[in-house]
C-alpha cells in the first residue's frame, strides 16, 4: 500500500524582510535609486523555515506535529495544504484533501447561517451536493437551528464558532490537515467535535495531520507524532515518546537547581546551595495547574558571622515580561540576625494568579536596611502552568485562546434591581 502522504526532502526558504512583509512601489523605487547611486546591492537575509523534511504517512494514520513556536509546524502544514509552495523537495498526497487552518474561513456577516454553510463548505472543498445531503445534520449539530436563516452578524461569537465547527466536523476528505483550531469555544462542544471527527476517522480510515500546542489533545487523538525544531524533524514515532522527549528537552522547565560549589555573597559570608519548586504537599515538580499554590524554597548557609538579610523573587513569563517582583518584608521587619548555620526560605505564589504558560523565577538575597543586594540570580528555575478543566478556575469552560498576563479568580456579585 502506498502512503497517503509522502514527503521527500521538503524545504522552504523565506526572505527576511525588515519591517513589512510586502513591498511598496515607493520603497522599491527609492531603494533602487539609492543603490545605483551608492553602487551597492541590497543584502537579503534568507533563512530556511523548513529543511529536509521526510515522512511517510499511511492511510488511516493520525499524526501529531509538535514543536515550539517558530519550529515550522504551520509552514509544513501550509505547504502540504498547497497554500504556499516549497522551495525544494516534493510531496505526494493520495486522496481528497481538506485543510482546516481556521474554522469559518470565508464566513460573511451579511449572509445567513444557512448561506454561510454553503459558502464555507464550498471553500473547504465540499461539493454542493454533499453540503445539501448533510445540511440538516450540520444545522442540528451546530445547535443554532432557530437562527439558521438570520444573518450571522446577529450571532454571538460562540454561535458562529459552533456553526463553523459543525461544517468542519462534516468534512469527508480522506486526508485532513488540522492546525490548532481545536482550541476553540466551549470545552464540551470541542469534545463533541473531536468525537465526531474520530467517529468519521475510524469508520473511513481517514488520514489526519494534526498540529497543536495542546499535548493532551495530541495524546488523545494521535498514535504517532513528529517533533519539529528549527525547521527539522528531530524525533518521530510513538506519540508518548515524542511528547516526553519534547517536554524533557524543549519546554525546558526545571524544578530545581543546585550549585555544588555554591553561589557566594560579595563578602563570602552567605552561600546559596539549592532552589526548588514544590507543591503544598512538598512534592518537587515543575508543573502546576492554574489553581495550585506554587512553592519556591531555597537553601543557603551563613558561614562566618551573623548577618541580617531578607529575600525576594522576580517572576517572568515566556515573553520575558516581568510579571512581578516581591520582597520578603516579614523577615525584613523582624530584622533578625542569623547565626552561622543552614537555612531554608520558602515563598508561596498563590493559586489562581498565573495563566497557562512557562514561567521563570529569579531570586535575590539582600540586606533590608540599607538595601544592599548580596546575591541576585536570574533564571534559576522554570515551571509550566496548565489548565485543569476539572477544577474551578477563572477560565470556566471557555477553551479558546484566553490571553492576559495574570488570571485572577475574582469575586463576582449579581443582585436583582427590579
Amino acid at each position: 500500500m502506498k502512503p497517503a502522504i509522502e514527503i521527500r526532502n521538503l524545504g522552504k526558504e523565506y526572505k527576511l524582510m525588515e519591517a513589512e512583509p510586502y513591498l511598496s512601489l515607493r520603497d522599491v523605487l527609492s531603494n533602487t535609486a539609492k543603490n545605483i547611486l551608492r553602487g551597492k546591492k541590497k543584502r537579503k537575509n534568507k533563512f530556511w523555515a523548513l529543511e529536509d523534511i521526510n515522512a511517510d504517512i499511511m492511510p488511516g494514520e493520525r499524526i501529531g506535529i509538535i514543536g515550539r513556536n517558530g519550529a515550522g509546524k504551520s509552514t509544513l502544514l501550509k505547504i502540504i495544504s498547497r497554500i504556499t509552495p516549497p522551495t525544494k523537495g516534493e510531496a505526494f498526497l493520495r486522496g481528497r484533501v481538506s485543510s482546516l487552518l481556521e474554522v469559518g474561513t470565508g464566513f460573511h456577516n451579511e449572509l445567513t447561517g444557512r448561506e454561510n454553510i454553503y459558502l464555507n463548505g464550498s471553500i473547504l472543498g465540499l461539493k454542493r451536493k454533499e453540503i445539501k445531503q448533510n445540511l440538516d445534520e450540520i444545522i442540528v449539530f451546530s445547535g443554532v437551528e432557530k437562527f439558521i436563516d438570520t444573518p450571522i452578524k446577529h450571532y454571538s461569537s460562540g454561535m458562529k464558532m459552533r456553526l463553523a465547527f459543525s461544517v468542519a466536523a462534516h468534512l469527508n476528505a480522506e486526508i485532513l490537515l488540522i492546525d490548532e483550531v481545536l482550541a476553540v469555544g466551549d470545552i464540551e462542544f470541542q469534545k463533541k467535535c473531536l468525537g465526531k471527527m474520530e467517529e468519521v476517522s475510524q469508520q473511513e480510515g481517514r488520514t489526519i495531520l494534526f498540529v497543536s500546542h495542546n499535548m493532551d489533545s495530541i495524546r488523545n487523538f494521535c498514535s504517532k507524532s513528529l517533533l519539529l525544531d528549527v525547521g527539522k524533524i528531530i524525533h518521530q514515532g510513538n506519540t508518548n515518546e515524542v511528547i516526553n522527549s519534547y517536554v524533557a528537552n524543549h519546554l525546558q522547565t526545571q524544578a530545581q537547581k543546585q550549585w555544588p560549589e555554591g553561589i557566594f555573597s560579595y563578602d563570602k559570608n552567605i552561600k546559596l546551595r539549592k532552589t526548588f519548586l514544590h507543591t503544598k504537599e512538598n512534592k518537587i515538580t515543575s508543573r502546576f495547574d492554574t489553581t495550585e499554590r506554587i512553592g519556591l524554597s531555597f537553601e543557603f548557609e551563613v558561614l562566618h558571622h551573623q548577618a541580617s538579610f531578607t529575600h525576594g523573587i522576580n517572576l517572568y513569563n515566556q515573553e520575558a515580561v516581568n510579571i512581578f517582583n516581591s520582597h520578603d518584608v516579614i523577615t525584613a521587619k523582624e530584622n533578625l540576625q542569623k547565626e552561622p548555620g543552614q537555612y531554608k526560605a520558602t515563598v508561596w505564589i498563590p493559586g489562581n494568579l498565573l495563566p497557562e504558560g512557562i514561567f521563570t523565577i529569579g531570586i535575590a538575597l539582600f540586606s533590608a536596611n540599607p538595601v544592599d543586594v548580596m546575591i541576585h540570580e536570574q533564571n534559576v528555575v522554570n515551571f509550566e502552568v496548565f489548565t485543569d478543566f476539572s477544577k474551578s478556575n477563572a477560565r470556566g469552560r471557555y477553551a479558546e485562546d484566553f490571553p492576559g498576563i495574570i488570571r485572577p479568580l475574582l469575586d463576582w456579585e449579581t443582585i436583582r434591581l427590579g
Binding site: 502506498k2 523565506y14 513589512e20 512583509p21 510586502y22 513591498l23 511598496s24 512601489l25 515607493r26 522599491v28 492511510p59 501550509k78 505547504i79 502540504i80 495544504s81 498547497r82 497554500i83 504556499t84 509552495p85 516549497p86 522551495t87 525544494k88 523537495g89 516534493e90 510531496a91 505526494f92 498526497l93 493520495r94 486522496g95 481528497r96 484533501v97 485543510s99 487552518l101 481556521e102 474561513t105 470565508g106 460573511h108 451579511e110 449572509l111 448561506e115 454553503y118 459558502l119 464550498s122 471553500i123 473547504l124 461539493k127 454542493r128 480522506e174
Partner: protein, 274 residues
Amino acid sequence: MSKFTHHIQPPSGFSLAVKELWQYRELFYFFTWRDIKVKYKQTYLGILWALIQPLGMMLIFTFIFSKTLQIDSGNIVYPVFVLAALVLWNFFNAAVSNAAESMILHAPIIKKIYFPRLIIPGSTLLVAFFDFLIGLVIFFVLCLYYHQAIEWTAIFYFPAGIFVVVFSAFGLGTFLAALNVKFRDFRYTLPFLMQLLFFASQIIYPLTAVKQSWLHYLLAVNPMNAGIELFRSPLYHTSPDMQVVGIGLASALLLFITGLIYFRKTEAYFADIS
C-alpha cells in the same frame, strides 16, 4: 484509493491548469453568488442601484456634453450615443477596479486555504458582468424610447464588442490584482489610471472627432475604443472602423495573455506576501 493525487513541488514554468479550474467551478459560482447577494443586500436601493447609476451618468453627460458643450453625435441622439459606451465602460471600470482590489480583500482566505487563485478576480469580473446585463436591458429600453433602430449586424458586433472588453478587463484586472499584492501602494495610482482610460475612450465623444492621425492610432490601442466602435456601428447603420477594431482586438488579447501569465507566475507566493 481515490483518484485524487496531488503532487506538491516548487513552482516551475507556466500552466493554465484549466482542469483544476473546472474542478473548482462550484467555488467560482459561490464567490460570485456571495458578492452579488451581499452587494444588493447591503444597499438600501438594492438592485435599483444598477439601473440608477448608468441612467444618472447618461443624464449628466447629456446635459454637459450635448446640451452645454454641444458635442456632435451624428445622426443618433446623444443619450443613446453615450449610454451605448457607458454600459461597456461601467463594466470595464468595475471589473478592473474590483479585480485589482480583490486579492487584498481576500488575503485572510488566501492565507488559510488553497484554491486556484484565478477564481477571485474571475468572480469579480462575473459580478460586474451581472450589472452589465442589467445595463444592457436599460440600453435597449432607451433605444425603444428614442425609436432608435439597431441594424441586424448587431448580432455579430455586440458580442464581438463584449468579447473585446471582457478579455481586456480580465487581462488588466488580473495583472493589477497580482501587482497590488506585490506593491501595496500601487492601488493609489488606480483611480488615476482609470480616469486616463476614461478620457482615452470614445465615450463622451466620437473617435471620428479626433483629426490628428497619430492620436487616432494611439487611441485605437485602447481596446475600449474597439468595443465601443462595435457597439455603435449598428446604431449608425455603418460598418465599424476595422482599423480601430483590429488594433483594439490585438491589444485586448495581448493584455489578456500578459495579465494571465503574470498572475499565474506570482500566485504561488500570494500567501507569503499578502
